[in-house]
Amino acid sequence: MLLNSFYCMIASMCFGFLFNIRGRNIIIASLGGGVSWFMFLLAQSYNNTPTVSLFFAAVSVAIYSEIMARIFKAPVTVFVICGIIPLVPGNGMYYTMYEIINGSSQNAISWFTQTLLSAGSIAIAIVMVSSITKLVTMKKK
């Protein structure tokens, strides 16, 4: 689990470079990728469905990014984008197409719904966290 998260961190770091992030931000952003995958695997190990696990992972990476953005005074997107990348259902897209080519529409549809649900759960997680942060920061002011 830790090793997998470490691979994910490296992948996120490479993405950070591809998105042209510079300086210490890149280390923080890649840690976000590690956090997101670790939380995903942790949720998976408690027998959650992939959709629920993705939700937990996306919530944790969004919270992480909001905190880091405030500490290091950088836009939240910089960290969220790198942290979210490993969660984006690239495998879902592939397996959907694979099953369509194979001719088993049953499996294709189940993969397709899985992909859409994954994207949806990531979206809801980000919406929730950033709305709640708005509430919290407003209260402080």
């Binding site: 042209n20 997107t77 979206a123």
Partner: protein, 255 residues
């Protein structure tokens, strides 16, 4: 105070942000913050992923406005960080128009990572994702090659300003082709993990994130257009890999 100059400056800052992957609300906020900090009173603006509009009143009460069309969009999050910092420091450090202009020019010409570095990093990203999704080290080594080739294709085709949809189709197709060839040669066992590692380079992570963030901040037009962009990219990737898989099955009678 030169109203025209300030207007140009603010909209240029917005343009750089929008072209490099900033969210719509951040772009609008930045343009307004810059124009207010430099002394424009009644500024108002509207931004979508393809157009920027900024309007203000000069001293005698005439309306002055500027419109910028955004044609190309890439990722350079560092520029967004820098412009964000700049817009906040104008007010704090009492910078004047010329200071800001020079600073903006610096940000515009900031160096990006070189081609070689990007290719190497893309290769490592693809390799790492192959490991994450359950491939072994042999798969990951092949994915290094796949990632490098896919990134090369992305950069090669974007230089010609081809539609993103086409780049995704070609990228997906090549990733699948290389993985299948390696599988056929007996080098690797999990061709699917390699393909997934390769297409993660094309996946619309930035479009999804920005679509969500735009929608919740109330920029519905931008949110929907970015969501459609993300969906089209996903379809493009799937179609690309699908074409290769189908042709491969037809030619060899199976994978």
């Amino acid at each position: 105070m030169d109203t025209n100059k300030i207007l140009d400056l603010a909209i240029d800052a917005g343009k750089i942000m929008l072209e490099n992957g900033g969210e719509t609300y951040r772009v609008e906020e930045t343009m307004l913050r810059i124009s207010k900090a430099l002394g424009l009173q009644h500024a108002d603006c509207y931004a979508t992923p393809t157009v920027l509009m900024l309007n203000c009143k000069d001293k005698s009460g005439n309306n002055i406005s500027a419109v910028k069309r955004i044609v190309s969009r890439t990722f350079n999050l560092d520029k967004i960080v820098k412009i964000n910092e700049l817009s906040r420091s104008i007010e704090k450090e009492h910078m004047d128009v010329d200071d800001v202009l020079g600073e903006l020019e610096n940000i515009r010409n900031m160096p990006t990572y070189s081609r070689k570095v990007k290719i190497i990093l893309a290769a490592f990203a693809a390799g790492a994702f192959t490991l994450v999704f359950g491939g072994n080290f042999q798969d990951a080594l092949t994915a290094l090659l796949v990632g490098a080739v896919v990134q090369n294709i992305i950069m090669f085709l974007s230089a010609f300003k081809v539609a993103d949809f086409f780049i995704d189709i070609v990228g997906g197709a090549i990733a699948a082709l290389l993985a299948l060839i390696a599988y056929k040669l007996g080098i690797v066992q999990h061709y699917d993990k390699i393909i997934i590692g390769g297409i993660m380079l094309l996946v619309p992570g930035l479009a999804i994130t920005n679509a969500i963030r735009d929608t919740i901040s109330g920029d519905l037009v931008s949110g929907i257009s970015r969501a459609v962009e993300a969906f089209i990219i996903a379809v493009g990737i799937a179609v690309g890999t699908g074409i290769t898989l189908k042709i491969w099955v037809i030619v060899w009678g199976g994978i």
